[in-house]
Symmetry: C2
Subunit: 501 residues, 2 copies
Amino acid sequence: MNSTLETLKMRLAEVVDLQRAAALLSWEQQTYMPSGGAKARSEQLATLQGLSHRLFIADEIGGLINDLKNTSAQWDYDTDEASLLRLVERQYERERKIPSQLVAELASTTALAQEAWALARQNDDYPVFQPHLQKVIELTRQQAECFAPYENLYDPLLDKYEPGMKTSEVQMMFDGMKEELIQLVDAINSRSDEVSNTILYGEFDIEQQREFGLRVAKQFGYDLKRGRLDETLHPFCTHFSIDDVRITTRFDNEFLPSALFGTMHEVGHALYEQGISPKLDRTGMDTGVSLGVHESQSRLWENLVGRSRPFWNHYFPQLQTFFPDAFSTVTQDEFYRAINRSEPSLIRVEADEVTYNLHIIIRFELELDLLSGDLHLNDLPSAWVEKYKDYLGVAPNNDSDGVLQDIHWSIGAIGYFATYTIGNLLSVQLFDCARKEIEDLDADISQGDFDALLHWLRENIHCHGSKFTPGELVKRITGNSMDSRPYLNYLHNKYREIYKL
Amino acid sequence: MNSTLETLKMRLAEVVDLQRAAALLSWEQQTYMPSGGAKARSEQLATLQGLSHRLFIADEIGGLINDLKNTSAQWDYDTDEASLLRLVERQYERERKIPSQLVAELASTTALAQEAWALARQNDDYPVFQPHLQKVIELTRQQAECFAPYENLYDPLLDKYEPGMKTSEVQMMFDGMKEELIQLVDAINSRSDEVSNTILYGEFDIEQQREFGLRVAKQFGYDLKRGRLDETLHPFCTHFSIDDVRITTRFDNEFLPSALFGTMHEVGHALYEQGISPKLDRTGMDTGVSLGVHESQSRLWENLVGRSRPFWNHYFPQLQTFFPDAFSTVTQDEFYRAINRSEPSLIRVEADEVTYNLHIIIRFELELDLLSGDLHLNDLPSAWVEKYKDYLGVAPNNDSDGVLQDIHWSIGAIGYFATYTIGNLLSVQLFDCARKEIEDLDADISQGDFDALLHWLRENIHCHGSKFTPGELVKRITGNSMDSRPYLNYLHNKYREIYKL
């Protein structure tokens, strides 16, 4: 065994352990922590993250990487060893470029900005948030500048969440989708009477919701011996090892879809993490490769499986027995159409499959303009309103439902939003491949049998963890680059039928 | 502000954060973790503990300590600064003396020994455990030898749990108690028909138990905004900051005392941690000073308050409304006697106030003999049986109820048992002081009013955290050293009345 490699792996394992411990602290903060614990918890998270960064950027790691590069010629590109070296070198160079001083300043700035944002949103008071956002953007710009030279200042920000992706690629994709999406929204809008979703509002017992959600989760393949479901204000998936992957959900006893599709979504993320090869454990390759690829998995299970006709062929009769008062007189077709109703709205997290990506494109365009300086922060709320009018035909009456609705900018997560749409696009590209390679996938799903699908995802995506870049992974599977065409085709076909376009 | 002191505090805060994070990981392992998470959790705990040790014994800390010692003349003994310096210097010297290699060897040995112990206990198979115990004792001996010179090889082991306490002092105290306890046990035994506890067995709804336990906990002063109660196999108290102190309990729906007194016991520990001065936060002084002093707090609330007549003057009528089927026809006197029934038994954790300390003395004497080599491991089970016959008049039929009953030796916790009895003795010494200084304490307790008592404990014990050694603390409060006489007097008075001796 290569002892340099072993030493590197030992050092990386320590870093991974610290990050996993931090993830647990954060999970517990959102699930069980009493309110008094908040101050100490933030101190502990700062210590764990700071230490993890310090250990990772140590000169020793750089030395080990260099030593290995001199011997790596012997490793094939696809081996775990070669992949580890590529990943660690990329991350090491990235992390070393940002001065610790700037990391600390960003951390303290965003801690304050997040508080200001929460207050501003609560009181519909954008001016309270604006100076904080100003500082966040300034520091984010400085952070990006550490990575010069670049084609676009936005590239290093995007790269943090979607390694290897370039701003120009996203721009081209988004520009290519925008008009077509707007036209589809208009077409659907003109036939909005075709579909109602009032049957989804009512009284839905939470224990029944939990049981139904867990039944679906288990049948998808989520292993509860290596995971668990808890309740939080904002649903999420997190992991503390390949064998300990948690999901959370939020139950609304008056609206069924929140927890139902929220749980399927988080299970999609969890299946990815549970499916990573144990050989990659504690190396840093033992997690999903990017936010976009992660989102492709959650969206695949939530939308392409969970909002499909075959799925409800199997589950609607069961849902009727869980909620007889709500659904005993409802047809499966009515239910299917209700859960797929599309309508322009103000809030991203509640948006349907058609309108969702326009919410994202708006944020992406605004981020670019803010970063380049073309858009001044004084004008951000009105720019927001204008874009919503242009793209979705609706506009918020207040900033809380507008520019203040998302937490992302306050925590410095600029470059993040695009990955939601990347996930949507990839979900269809990948699902189309699965459909080609799995005989009669729809028939399986119609019988509540997801084994072949999960097996395909594990073999082609999950098991690799972060061995390959997102671009490499997509190419290996589809033979192509990322492409918005399959997603648009999927939307057209699905909504043509639902809205009789 | 002294910048050397500030730097030291920053370094210590990091170490404290790592330890608190480890405590949370351990708590979560016992409360919510799915079984699959065990392997990774143990890796993460090892990393956090190893790193915390590495950071603490860094040369830099030693340098800061030395720099401060040159300026510390200006600090009064009682100041936080002087106390911090004393504590850190003592801990630093201690931790530096143990070679990392030995720490690691002990960790891996005890991990295996613990598994072997669990198996051996399950199958009543001492020979499976014996070689592991052999190695644990050997390494423990090596560990103790790092602290030469010492009066007794056992001193450094005891010192780990009860700083400053000497083996000879414990021996003298235990020898002084033994005969008197054995006689008291005999006297009670001869009148065993006086007291029955059958009324404590029955059907006790767990939700009712929880509600009653939380009611008492809150009235004792446990702040649930800075804590919470969960369920675990073995009850414990842990903390992640002064403002986040958790307790756990175990409910038995057929036997009331388990959760009832178990909860009061853990609340006693929790009140100590919640009562530490915020000025000591993140310094390492921000936790109870020793296991013995900690146990004095849990025992005080569990036994001196919770098993007293005044307490049940207030709570028995409430308990009757919680469990009318069990208690509506029971008198308060019957109940009081039932919860205080004393009888020699085999299992330490179920022992009453009289017999409990004999269980401890047996273990303490065996540990000394094992460490000195006077007792060979082949003879340990029979030595155990002999001592139980001699001291308690009962003997186990198997090793699972004998030498294998406790986890302590398997995890290398040799020197730990004595602190249980130290806690019992201190609980009475301290409570006697409180009683002298608080006007009509029994009347308060009879009304469910614990404010004066908690205030007294906070002022005299809790707020100081680990500023003073246990010996200093006891001296400051009682004017004396630790003494078994008050405890023996307490037992005589209490049990004379209950058993009409």
